[in-house]
Assembly symmetry: C2
């Protein structure tokens, strides 16, 4: 990263006034250059941080400074102490978990939102924050060809939350209260929540928080035969058994693009089951929802019209900096009835006119940032055409990697690629010690060897009992050359580990 300009005078100003506009201007320009330099150089940094637990306590003092310190000192500490402790999600060599898709437009939108610093709990507290949010979420709903019933214009509506965890918790609370109204407020112990064993742990956590009894959480097993999608027949059986046992099916979560393997649950079949049982169906498309703005992926959402709610994370694969989760519901009243509060100090004419949305009643928190700005800037700066192109380029890079894996007989693709993630593993050489645990230890060591170089970062999952390496493309700085380099790295490390062999020919 470049050296910092010397501006001791402005730092002194910062100390005496917390928001002098000219001081703000000078310091923020310095920070822009700092971050631009970081993006310029980030690919040279070890992707996964190499620090040891507790490293930072040795670098920083035990208590806050009594006197102000200049920005240049702080930025020097960022370079020496913070950057080494960062796992660089923005590195083009980052292929772990799912991408965290920052972009210039997303960053600019966040700047604007941070700059205005409005607390948009209700319409009146900043009408633009509420109205832009409703408009932008309708825009994305249309890009996804969601049924009109999920749009404001069709009686539904959407909201921007922080994360899928929150979106699930809010819809679960809404579903729970709607059901308890029917069956009696003392029956919470009978309510049952359903998902597949591949569903994100966010659901289980939300169920815990919402007071669903832990023993009433069903993780229905999936199989390789169904590509780890949730079987409608299995879901129906689970619900029938619960009903027979005197329990009450409440909420089911279907996933488009599971975390372990980007598996897709079949919405149409599941929707018929949930409808039959009067169960709230939520569709969690946190990762893969973005891809569905491309016509060639939209079919994965077929059946979404049977769902009650749908969410996707714009911060995962939609070029919007963390955090931003889009949630659509068919029946906003259910959310509002469960989450609204109306203290006197927030009473106002706009709310009483019922002509406005007060988003505080659509989410957990009262305070909320102006998240719509960043999403709006992303949509306008890139346009639907480029957003599709970007997503397709990531899918193309994943295909490129898949081709490389397929071309090397020592490796195998463990589950078919659906979006922009490749699940692969090194097959254990026949007769080798690696065979005893079906290659788990082998791939663990390979993964650790790859990540230890600092040249790339990938993570793992286990599906159907098979340990595999996940290679998720989607980083905004990633180019094809990073994909080939990552594959060469995997090959080199594999060779160092087991030597050159041809497993499939034995």
């Amino acid at each position: 990263m470049g050296s910092l300009p010397e501006i001791f005078d402005s730092s002194a100003m910062a100390a005496s006034h917390p928001l002098d506009p000219e001081d703000f201007r000078k310091q923020a320009h310095i920070m822009v250059d700092f971050i631009a330099d970081y993006y310029q150089d980030v690919e040279k940094l070890p992707v996964r941080s190499e620090v040891k637990p507790g490293y930072l306590r040795h670098c920083l003092p035990d208590s806050a400074p009594y006197n102000p310190e200049p920005l240049e000192n702080i930025l020097e500490d960022v370079k020496s102490h913070i950057v080494p402790g960062i796992t660089h999600w923005m590195s083009p060599n980052y292929f772990a978990y799912f991408p965290s898709s920052g972009s210039t437009a997303g960053f600019l939108g966040e700047m604007l939102s941070t700059g205005f610093n409005v607390v948009g709990f209700n319409w009146l507290s900043s009408p633009a924050a509420t109205e832009l949010e409703s408009i932008v979420i309708d825009w994305i709903g249309k890009m996804l060809c969601l049924p009109k019933s999920f749009l404001f214009s069709g009686g539904g509506g959407g909201v921007l939350q922080g994360t899928t965890c929150e979106a699930i918790l809010c819809t679960l609370a809404a579903a729970r209260d709607r059901k308890l109204k029917k069956i009696g407020g003392d029956k919470i112990g009978q309510l049952v929540v359903y998902a597949s064993d591949q569903t994100h742990c966010a659901l289980q956590k939300a169920a815990q928080i919402a007071g669903i009894r832990p023993e009433n959480f069903r993780a229905v097993p999936t199989t390789k035969a169904c590509n780890f999608g949730l079987s409608p027949a299995a879901l129906r059986r689970a619900m029938e058994e619960d009903v027979a046992a005197g329990l009450v099916p409440l909420y089911a979560c279907a996933t488009i693009g599971t975390t372990s393997s980007t598996a897709v649950d079949p919405l149409e079949g599941l929707g018929r089951v949930t409808r039959d049982f009067g169960v709230w169906l939520h569709v969690d498309a946190a990762y893969a929802g973005s891809a569905c703005i491309c016509p060639e992926f939209r079919h994965f959402l077929d059946g979404v019209e049977l769902a009650d709610s749908y969410s996707m994370n714009a911060h995962k694969w939609f070029f919007t900096n963390l955090d931003c989760c889009c949630l659509w519901v068919k029946n906003p009243d259910a959310l509002v009835q469960s989450l609204s509060t109306n203290p006197e100090y927030l009473r106002n004419k706009a709310t009483e006119s019922k002509m406005v949305v007060d988003y505080k009643d659509w989410q957990i928190a009262l305070s909320r940032r102006f998240r719509a700005l960043k999403l709006w800037m992303v949509l306008r700066s890139y346009g639907v055409s480029n957003l599709r192109n970007f997503l397709r380029s990531h899918v193309r890079m994943a295909k490129q990697f898949e081709g490389l894996v397929n071309a090397d007989p020592r490796f195998e693709i463990v589950v078919p690629r659906t979006f922009a993630m490749v699940c692969f593993r090194l097959t254990p050489p026949t007769g080798s010690r690696w065979e005893t645990d079906n290659g788990e230890e082998l791939n663990k060591e390979l993964l650790e060897a790859v990540n230890s170089t600092g040249l790339a970062y990938m993570t793992h999952a286990v599906v159907g009992g098979v340990y595999m390496i996940r290679f998720a493309t989607g980083g905004t700085l990633t180019e094809e050359r990073h994909i080939s380099a990552a594959w060469r790295l995997v090959q080199e490390q594999a060779e160092a580990l087991v030597g050159t062999y041809k497993a499939k020919e034995v």
Copy 2:
């Protein structure tokens, strides 16, 4: 605001690459100037937005653009369509609700966090994010002289969440699960939550979400005699009655600085009651907690050692841009037991070594931003000394306003000022039509008249049946001249409404 530089070329680049570093640099510099100009000019804008419900739908297209648009077009739209729809929380003439305290350092920290864009769910995902958070929260804990049992070094610990609503929900879930473990998982319907009738609605909402039965929420009445603080004796009576009725007291929330009138609940007395009943005591110091870094305010926290958890919003009155809530707990295990999930794909050696904190288990969501950066930058840029000075200057401005109110016999202070908010009202002229409702309509009209000018923005509350105007200082751009101008405005509008009269002399 100034005119925008013309940079059509860089906008074209934005369209073709979502994060080209040089393009990022150019565009982010433009945005810095846009925001600096906004701060320069914000005091000229109507503080409360004057738009009508639905205004923005008429300004923006029905769907997202297919082709990319240049930044200058978007910023022109921000000026023409978004800024008029914003209620300017950053205006020096903003005295509504509580302040939203943005600062240069807070903004810079948010930039850095948005730039790194790490998803810090566990230690490994970015060690610096976790470690800086633990360090900074210990720093603030020490600044507040919290008992050692709330600090990491004393077996407790802290976490940065988005809002107090989340902090309360997490601690409530922890308390609930700890209690259910003792009394049986099917007893959730017996659990009771307590607060005063002045407590923020966040608690009631959290209780709803956590599955506490609505009829088991006790808002214990307060009185003017106790300055609207929660009486320990009244709390004890409420708990005794519930126990007698076979219910189980679970959780109580005490407030330092209520939203309506900045009332303070007496922690020592309340702590003895909650201890006697085995109830989790949470202290919500969302607004006034900040002031307690000044020795002259610290006594309001006396008794906090009897609490189980304590929270304050750094985004309210601590110069940290939205959102940032600091939560400390004495027993992190209780949080972790209630909120942890351990999916295979997140398994890692650092977690298994138990030498690290995984903050995903301390909050609702899995994904989390690197919020510690902005708090760290605030603490270092200003230092404890200036932070105290800033807070004291706001208290001084509130005293200034209080003095002005007291000097005008037509007005009265409704509840004594404690921190930086003044609660006042125009007393209804004797014999006038305004007397019939104890001045409620009079002050409603006065408030609306003041706010309609666009020159200042204040909000209201009702305590002890009295409608009053809340005047909250604390805006980072507010100076003494804004206070005097706001008071002149109130006087002018009062005169226009009721003419010149001397209520108290009649």
